[in-house]
Structure formats: C-alpha cells, structure tokens
C-alpha cells in the first residue's frame, strides 16, 4: 500500500462522483415520463453536484508525487482477488474533471433539443458519465473493464435512439467495432491476471515485468481495444458515422471523453505493462499516428457535412495525441495528455456549437449556411475562438498541446516532427475553409433571421472559452499536475530492457507468426 496515498479527504470522493450520477438516474427512473422538466432539473443538479464534488481533486491534489491519490480500496470478489480499487494520478485526474464538466454541458445542450423519451435520455447520459469517470478512476482491471464495457450500453442507445437519420447503422457499427476491440483486450487481461499469479491490481501488474514475446502479443491485444477507441488509422471509420449521427450531447461525450479512453489506455496500460514491446512498436505507432494526422486532416477538406468534418478533425487531433504519447519523451507525453484535455474542450465545444445551429436549421450541410456571422454575430465569435483553438493558435490551449507534441515528436524523430507539422498547416486550411463557408460571404437565404445564441447556450460555451484561454495563457496550472506521473512513467519505460526499435515490417511479422 505504500505506493499509493489513501484518500486524504474525509469522504470517499471518487466513489461519490462515480455514483452520484447513478443515483440521479435512479431518481429520474422513478419519475413519471410526463414530468419532463423535473427530469431535466434533476439531471442538471446531479451533474453540477458531481462536478462540485469533484473539484477537490483539482484543489487538494498533491502535485509533488506520482503516486495514486484519493485511493479507496475494498475487497470485492475474494475468489478472484478483485478489489474495488479507485485512485487518480496526474494522468487521470484532469480527465476525470473533464468528464464531470462535459456531463453538465451535455445536459444543458440537450435541454430543448431532445424531445422524445426525455427520461431515458437523461438516464443514459448520467450513466455514461458515471461509467466514464469510473474508467479513469479504476485501479483494478476487472473494475476498469466493467466500466469500459458498461459505457457501451447507454452510448449505443444514445446514438441509436436519439441520433440522426442513419443512426441505427452508426450505433451498431460503433458497438461492434469497439466490442471486437475490447474482447481481445479481455483475453489479454485474463492472461496477465493468470501470469501474475491472479491479480487484477493494475499497480501491481504494472510493476511486474513480462517476457518479451508475451509483451508483444499482449501489446497488440490491448492495442486492438485502445486503437479502436482513439481511433487510430485505419480503424477510425466508426467515428465519423457515430459522431455525425449521434445527438449533440452524444457527439460531445464521444469527442470529449470516450475517445480519450483509448489514449488513456495506452498511457495507463500499454506503456507501463509492456515497456519493451511499446518501445519496439514505437515505429509502428508513430507511423500510424502520422498517417492519422495527415489523412484525417486532408480528408476534412473533402467533407460537406459539418459534424463529419469535425469528426475527421478529431481523427487528426487524436493522431497528435498518440504521436505525443509514443514520442516517449516528456514534452511529447505531457503535450499528449494536455492535448487530450484540449481536444476534449475544443472539439466538444465545436460539436456543441454545431448542435446550436442544428437545433435552429436541422441541417448539417455546410452548403446550407454562409454569412452566418451577420445573422448570429455572438455565435460567430464563440465559434471563431474554438476554430482558432483547434488550429492551434498561440495563446489558445490548442497551441500549447500541439507545440509540446511536435516538440516531443521532433525530438524523438525529425521526420516525424516535420510530417506532423504539415498536419498543422492543413488543419488551418480546413478549419478556415469551414469557417468561411459557414460564417462569411453572402448570407444564405435559408438562415436569414435566425435568433442569436440564447443565454443557456452561451452559458454552455462560456466555461469552455474560459478554459481555452486559461490553458493557453497559463498552461502550468494543468501541466504541473502531470510532471511527476509522466516522469515516473517514462522512467519505467526507458529503464526497461534495451530492446532496440525494430522495423515496422518486422514488428508485424513478430505478431503474425507467433
């Protein structure tokens, strides 16, 4: 127990923030389906409460140590030596907060846009939130997998029930895609469990060392799960459909949190569990990341659908994240983590914004807009901020993340740095292209006389704007969380046995023929 810090607070904070939403959803469950307003209010209060309760994670976090904090540990399933084991460190704490925040936004943005099955919708949203937070807090593999899979169910429904015209296809695609990935991970988990003498304790497992061959194929087993979630090229195709068809709140959850789970998985599991394998696979991972960055960026230029474009831009941005992670140096990794937050904030915000006009026009086609800036100036301003953040303009959060990642990537391998940097150029190209098509030029007749943002909507976006500049101008308040954890992680990876990097082809071979 000495490598963790038990929960310093008087109350079990993590449990509370995980189960508050569950509690809320139970409340909603007993509501009559006709009482829509109470349902909404309960959902709102629950999410806000959750966030407030989660705040101590930010304030009371001990930034001087890499150890797990706010740890709770209770024996759960003795037969399998499974514990109810929660804790956060510098890598996960911010994601937890982000999840809590995004819940509020999702509730707010869906206030008027969800008209059918309101009750079920908010239940699903809250449950998803709980599962997401759970994923980031779990220190026990069983618990982790429980949350990891459990979140599929409400997400599946959110996309499939309240989504767009092609929602069913998207929902099933999303579900199967991710399921195939995670079942392979399950096998990997079991193998680890048995190899390590029956322990699901993540910390314990990550402190052991495993034979190289085993590491290698376990790495790929986990890769299957995480790569799909991230999503890395070429398993990204579920994302455009899911993001596009999902209701706004759904897209936000997907973009802001769910796809972070993959990157988080790489950080929390792949690297510390299989350091040698990770090292050996770095070329592959970097290559895939680069492909994702450029591919995702270029493909954006060919999109005609707002949400689809943003979805593909997510592919590109997550490519940056994985690039940073597998640059295996401190700038890259911290950049990667920060970029996860940034992408959560910015892309989440973009989806919220798109949702705002979608509620007005019910069209996602870029061609249906134009000259919106004259119709909805305030909205245009908000959108501009997020656009700039997304193209990584200095003084916005996007810059900090991308810059650190590129720096890390460049340090790791010049070519990688250069190629990744081209992604930034294209990024600017498509975002500005989008902005121009939607907001500039002659006002499209279809959108004349749309009302500008309502207070509720402004309130939804305001915190994100604040975050954009906060991280952009004073990123240390976030970076400082990561230093010890990241250093510790890197040290774990770098001190691992010196298996020098092997070529992509060889890596594939290694996996194929074992």
């Amino acid at each position: 127990m000495e490598q963790v810090i038990m929960n310093q607070l008087g109350y079990p904070i993590l449990t509370t923030i995980i189960f508050l939403p569950v509690l809320g959803s139970l409340f909603i469950l007993i509501m009559r389906r006709s009482w829509e307003l109470p349902v909404k209010w309960i959902a709102l209060t629950t999410s806000v409460l959750t966030f407030i309760v989660a705040l101590p994670l930010f304030t009371d976090f001990d930034k001087t140590t890499h150890k797990m904090q706010f740890v709770e540990r209770h024996s759960w399933i003795q037969q399998w030596n499974i514990n109810y084991y929660l804790g956060v460190d510098g890598i996960s704490v911010l994601l937890v907060l982000l999840s809590a925040l995004s819940a509020i936004l999702c509730v707010l943005i869906s206030w008027d846009s969800i008209k059918t099955k309101v009750k079920e919708f908010y239940i699903a949203i809250l449950l998803t939130t709980a599962a997401m937070i759970g994923v980031f807090c779990s220190l026990d593999f069983f618990l982790f997998y429980l949350f990891w899979e459990a979140m599929l169910i409400p997400m599946f429904l959110i996309i499939g029930v309240w989504g767009g015209p092609n929602r069913v296809y998207a929902a099933i695609k999303f579900f199967l895609y991710t399921l195939v990935g995670s079942v392979l991970m399950l096998v990997g988990i079991i193998v680890l469990y048995l190899y390590s003498g029956r322990s699901f304790d993540i910390l314990e497992l990550t402190s052991k060392s495993y034979p190289y061959s085993m590491q290698l194929w376990l790495f790929w087993a986990f890769f299957a799960a995480f790569a799909v979630k991230v999503p890395m090229w070429p398993v990204h195709t579920w994302l455009p459909d899911a993001h596009t068809e999902a209701p706004t709140a759904g897209s936000v959850i997907l973009a802001a949190i769910l796809i972070k789970m993959g990157a988080y998985g790489f950080l929390r599991f792949s690297l510390p569990l299989f350091p040698e394998a990770s090292k050996a696979m770095t070329p592959v991972m970097l290559t895939l990341s680069i492909i994702a960055i450029i591919y995702g960026a270029v493909i954006c230029l060919g999109q005609t659908d707002l949400k689809r474009l943003i979805a593909y831009s997510s592919v590109s941005h997550m490519g940056f994240v994985t690039l940073g992670i597998f640059a295996l140096n401190i700038q890259g990794m911290e950049g990667g983590i920060l970029q996860m937050i940034n992408h959560g904030v910015v892309t989440g915000a973009l989806f919220l914004s798109v949702g705002i006009i979608y509620d007005r026009t019910h069209s996602r086609q870029i061609a249906d807009y134009g000259g919106l800036a004259t119709v909805m100036p305030t909205y245009a301003a908000f959108f501009m901020v997020f656009t700039l953040a997304s193209i990584g303009l200095p003084a916005t959060n996007g810059f900090i993340g991308e810059f650190l990642i590129l720096l890390g990537g460049f340090t790791a391998n010049k070519l990688v740095g250069v190629l990744a940097a081209t992604g930034v150029i294209i990024g600017a190209a498509y975002m500005l292209w989008l902005y121009q098509k939607v907001f500039f030029m002659q006002t499209n007749q279809k959108i004349l006389g749309l009302p500008d943002m309502y207070v509720r909507e402004a309130l939804t976006l305001a915190p994100l704007v604040a975050l954009v500049f906060w991280i952009g101008v004073y990123p240390n308040s976030f970076l400082s969380f990561m230093h010890p954890s990241v250093e510790n992680l890197l040290q774990r990876v770098n001190t691992a046995g010196g298996i020098q990097e092997i070529s992509v082809a060889k890596a594939i071979m290694e996996v194929m023929f074992r």
Partner: protein
Amino acid sequence: MNFQLPNLDPVTPELVMTSVALVILLLDLIIKRKEIVALLSIAGVLGVAATLIGSSGTTFGGMFISDGYSTFFKLIFFVNVILSVLISIKYIAVEKVNYGEYYGLILFATIGMMLMASAADLIVLYLGLELMALSTYVLAGFIRHEARSSEAALKYFLLGAFSSAFLLYGISIIYGLTGTTNIQAIAAFIVERGLAGKSALLLSVMLLTVAFGFKIAAAPFHMWAPDVYEGAPTSITAFMSVGPKAAGFAVLGRVFMVAFASVTVDWSKILILLSILTMGIGNVVALSQTNIKRMLAYSSIAHAGYALLGIIAANNEGLASMMSYMMIYAFMNIGAFAVIIMLRSEGFKGEGIYDYEGLAKHHPLAAALMLIFMFSLTGIPPTAGFVGKLYLFMAAINAGYTWLVVVAVIFSAISAFFYLRIVMFMYMREPRTEVGLTTSAGTGVVLGITTVAVLFIGVFPSYLLGFARLALAGF
C-alpha cells in the same frame, strides 16, 4: 436371503420429489384450478430444495452419489423448474392446454435430471436420462392441437432415441472392456489394466460424446434444437434450453472427469473441435433468424459451445466455471423467455423478431428487461453473462487454451450482432402493430427474480463463485 435397506439419506431429495410428483398427478384429478396445482408443485420443489441440506454421501452400492457437484446442479434444476412453472401458469392457459399432467411431467423430468446429476453408475445415468428425455418428449408435444408442437415432439423423440442408442452401445462396450458400469470402478479399472490408449475404449468415449453432445445440443448433434425449440410450447422451450442442457453438462463433467480422467488428452481434442463448431454454427446461423425462439435456440447452442470450454479445461476451476455459467444461463435465458411469453396472447404468436419493433414505445419496462437479458447473453458487463464468460475464459486460458478463447471471444463479438438486433428493433424502430402484453403474476415474479439475479450476480458474483468452488470441494 439377507437384505437390509440401504442408506436412504442421500436420495431423500429424489424420493421427496417423486412423491411430490405423484401427489401432483393425483391432485390434478381433484383440483380443477390448475394454478393451484402449479403453486403446489412449486411449494413441493421448495420443500425438496430444503431437503438437499444434509443429503450427501453415496448409497445403493455406490450407484448413487450426492455431493456438492450434484447438489449445485440440482439447485440449477430447481431454479429452472420453478421459473418455468411460474411462466407456464398463464401461458398454457392461453395455449388452451391447461392440464395438470403438465406439471407432473415437468417434475418427473426434473427427477430425471437430478438422477443424472448424481448418477455414479452408467445404468442409473442411462435411466435418469431416459426419464428426463421421455417426459420432455411429451412436454414438447404437449400442445396436441398444434402441428408444430407434435412435429417438434416427433423430431426430438426420434433423434433422442437414436442418440440414446449410441449411448447404450458405448456403455455396452465399456462394460465389455471393464466388466463394470460403476464410474469410479471404470476409472480404476482403466488405470490398472492400462486401457488408456486402447481405441476400443476411445470408441466408447466417442459414442458417449455423441449422446451427451446431443443432450447439450453441441454441433453437429444440435440439429434437433432449433426445430424443437421453435415448435415446443415456449415455457417448455425455456425449460428445455436450461434443464437438459445442464443435466447433460453434469453427466459430461462427471463421466469424463472421473471415469475417463486418464484419457483426458484424447477427449479434450474432440471437445475442442465440437466447441469451436458449436460456437461457430450457433452464433453464425443465429444471425439470419427471424423467429426469436429459433434465434434463442441457436444462441443456446452457442452457449453450449462456451460452456464446453469449462469441460475442456479439465480441472476443477473449469468445472466450477461451467457450473456457474449454467446457473447464470438459467437466469438470463428464462428471463428472456419470460418476456417472449408475455408477447404471446390470444391469436397473436409474437415470435417473429419483427413483433418487437418499437416495443419500447408502449412497453418500456418489458423492453428494458429484454435489453438487460440480451446484453447479459452477449456478455456485456455489468451483467451476469459477463461474469460467467469471464470465468470460463479464465479457466480455459489457465489450462493453456488461449487461442481457443480468442476464437470464443471473436464469436461472442459476432453474437453481439443478433442480440443487438432485438434491442435495435425494440428501441430504434417505430412499432408496426399495437402489441398487447399478457402479463401475469407468475411472469412478473419470474422477471423480477431473473433481473435481480442477473444484475446482482453481475456486480457481486462472489457468492455464486464461492458456492461453485465449495461444491467442488470434494470432487
């Protein structure tokens, strides 16, 4: 002529059960309201369950053994029978076959299973199997005015008899080889005479495999299952999909693990083959089904395939996982069938999957429950199905069959598709026809029990697991 009554304690459950069954048969003649018969039989079963405690040991010259293993399975059978009876009460009235014999036969079938579970002698095993089988044949054909039902009965009967002939042939060869039919004795004999490698012995093993494979509906001996499941009364389908399967696994476990312990390598090879085939056929063919009972039939075939992993692992952990899986499967499967039965109403079959379109709109609760069961069958946490699968996979991997487990998880991912399809229909389509539900106290209770069980086991499996381990303590 010295004859002393053998020790009867171990067989108390069976004896009580028998008497209950007989009483039910008689009461049926005087009681007109069959619900009472049903409730009585449930009460009786509960009573029997009570007698399970303290009934352990072997008797009748080692022909009958009552140990943790058998007890566990008997519990499964009781769960199975109680739930099935509960969902039957309304259903058989709807089907206009509200006869008391129904319950009697169900009880007899259960007795058969109990005997199989605790048979220590091939003769007892065979007889138990026949007892179960015969009753089930009749039950399958219980809706006499319905051709499909009779057809199901016929097919089930023909093939069942066929398979039991194989069983007998196998038994006869074993008997010829070892001169005994007692499981323990066979094991001992095989070892002492070094029969391990003998093809004759293996032949008999294979013949038994055929027979048991038939009972658990493992490919390629599964072909009866879809037709029979579809044709038989839904309540009986529920009953059959759990009871005989569990019983089959019980004997499979006991015979192969005890009698043929010394030739594990050989039969495990075959079983691997079967399990892959079973999972494959079950999951894949289920994709293209349009009748939900049929779909669940294939899904139950697939689940047999998963459960075989437990046997293949060939160690206590494997058995424990298999047992827990059977228990879990009993809950989630019967739960699903309970929902299906609710859709059956006068003049409306409610078996086509399209009848489920938009169910969530008018019957959100039923839809939600079905959703839970479907996800549980898929094996998504936090439902029991996940725990069960996880345990099986653990056992198999621990026994060194990682690749097999990989195959299994791939198939279970495929299976997600057709379970999801039901969910999709219920939630993401507009209802075509106004579907009325025939709710009843019985179904309600069943749904309550199963849902709670599925979720509870899903989150706190330790009790079940502990019990399974305990049951195998003396195995």
